[in-house]
């Protein structure tokens, strides 16, 4: 997978490149809008990470220009501006997703995976990690052929953990994706919900799937 990062902030570009490379992506960096436009037109990229505030050509203009030129790869916008209006402008200009700085690196990875997956085959209807299987349309959960009943929030939480199986998800990510909440008054709710989910998914089984990563969040892995 080849990624183009268009970001004028050198240090951000550098840690993105380093982190993404460690995840197995090939990464190119463009440090202004025109260079980004040029690279996007000459190389074949699977995904663009685009900063909004850029010299020479700003992110919104670049995004519009690329979409007008039938550039097909998903575009993920990065910006420090976080108002609803800014998000709407960004998404209207042709971006597929929008992430505000500062962000969790895991969140970036999760969103990139989601964007790359969207391009691929039809949405999966069934997710499986080890012997835990959830059926999305039917809202059913099974572990080792034993049916587990969950509340709808617990199901949404488990679905989010399984979609990001093997990677750490922070509490902020869970709050935003499962509850659509951006308040840290919510961390207790998340911790308690994870505990409830654990008691249903892990307690009766010798192998634990949901793990706490101290200071970072939770991970679901085999």
């Amino acid at each position: 997978m080849r990624i183009l990062v268009i970001e004028d902030e050198r240090k951000i570009a550098e840690f993105l490149k380093k982190g993404l490379k460690a995840e197995g992506y090939a990464v190119d960096i463009a440090s202004d809008g025109e260079e980004g436009h040029f690279l996007a037109g000459t190389e074949d990229y699977d995904l663009l990470i685009l900063d909004l505030r850029l010299p020479k050509m700003d992110g919104i203009t670049l995004c519009r220009t690329l979409r007008a030129e039938k550039f097909a790869a998903p575009i993920l916008m990065l910006t420090v501006r976080d108002s609803v209006k800014d998000k709407v402008i960004g998404l209207d200009s042709g971006a597929d997703d929008y992430l505000t700085k500062p962000f969790d690196f895991e969140e970036l990875l999760a969103r990139m995976r989601a964007l790359l997956r969207k391009r691929g085959a039809a949405e999966a209807t069934r997710l499986q990690v080890d012997d835990l299987v959830i059926n999305l349309p039917g809202h059913t959960v099974q572990r080792a052929s034993k049916i587990i009943s969950l509340t709808s929030k617990e199901f949404a939480l488990l679905e989010y953990l399984m979609r990001n199986a093997g990677v750490v998800v922070s509490r902020a990510m869970i709050a935003e994706h499962v509850w659509d909440v951006h308040f840290d008054s919510f961390t207790n709710v998340i911790d308690v919900s994870i505990n409830h989910l654990r008691s249903k998914v892990d307690r009766d089984f010798p192998k634990k799937l949901i793990h706490t990563v101290r200071g970072r969040g939770y991970i679901l892995k085999a």
Partner: protein, 491 residues
Amino acid sequence: MNVKSLRFRMTGLYVLVLALTFALSGLLLYRLTGRTLRGDLDDLLELRAEGVDASIDTFWAVEAQTALKDGRPLGSTSKVDNLDFQRIAARWVEERIRDPVLVDIVVQLFGTGGELIASTQLVPGATLLPFDALEPFLSPSARFLNIVSQGPSGETARFRAFTYPVVAGGRLAYVIRVLSPLAPVEAPLRALRMILFLLLPGVVVLSGAVAAWLAGRTIRPVNHMVESARDISTENLRVRLPVPGTRDELSRLAETFNGMLDRIEQGFSFQRQFWEDVAHELKTPLAIMKGEIEVALRCGGGPEDREVLSSNLEEVDGLICLIEKMLTLARLDRSGAAMDMRELDLAALAGRAVEEFRAVAEDKGIRLGLTASGAVFVRGDDARLRGLLYILLDNALKFTPAGGTVGVEVGADGGHTRLVVSDTGPGIGEADLPRIFDRFHRAGRPVEGGGFGLGLSIAKAVAESHGGCIEVDSPPGAGSQFTVILPLAQR
């Protein structure tokens, strides 16, 4: 009426000055008029007395000539001790009684013994002359007297009397007294007194009332300004004082005030913008720090390095959280903050929030209950109002011990909705209560997991940005109770 009010003092001062001026000039006028009228009467009396004296002298001369012609001896040519005087006086009175000059004037002639010899009219009670005082022939001021005459049936009349001793060769010959009724002098003075005592106080009272009304009218713009100024706070700097269209000192005062408010508002908005800019500017370096630490943690490193990096990451996350809150507050403060206002059912919103926190409450062994009497619609931003509910619920659950109760109540009264979140925790100390919504204020109670003391100030800013308010009540030993009041949606 407020005794210290400008209106009262202005009116009072005006009335006082007016009353003093009127009293002084009235007194002066009365005195002057009295003196002039009396002086005129006295002059007249003196003139008449001299006239009488001259006319009697003429009689003497005629008498002397007649006696000379007839060769009849005159008792004496001297006026003094003249035995013929009584006869001459009677003749004079008889002859002159119809003299128009003497209308309204009574002429009395007295002998040297003080006995009344002749009188043009009988004035009861005025037939005696205080004779012993006639020596030595009266000083000019003692010649004038006021006499009260009393008739047989008790009616009285006041007279002015002028006593005119006729002296010949250093000896008193006889005494002429002229009297004039005082009524023509006293009647105008009485009328003047009436005017001064009734009319002037009336005028003072009337103009006092007019002055009070005028002062009220003049002061009214000031009262309007006071009312408007009362609504001005740091959260609401948009209010301006009404400028009266009078182009006077008051309108200049209002304009000056408004100019000052403009500058203050500018200063505040500059400050808010400054903090917003600072928060924004901090985001990029924080994004770099967070990203670099996270990537470094993913890419290995020794356990000691990882320990340091993890600790740094926690601090950076804390800072990011703080900056997000500062930005939230800055935006809520800025009136006309970009909010997504819709009609929302607050009861349903509270119900969902309670369900989301139910698991937390159960874990802590706290009863969490919702009381709502039905849908209650407000116009609000869904995300912000949810945030407000989460802050209050999170707080209540945090400070309530196991076995306690947290209650959420939604209701409407009047044009407002009331959302009450109450707990059975230890309550809030009296010292903390007034400052609980202050920014960065941390109540004396221990907060698990830190926090910046911004939660409740955000709750307050959210309530206020919706045109409502938030109140806290914490009676000792009875937990605490937060009440959010929001305007009902206009349906």
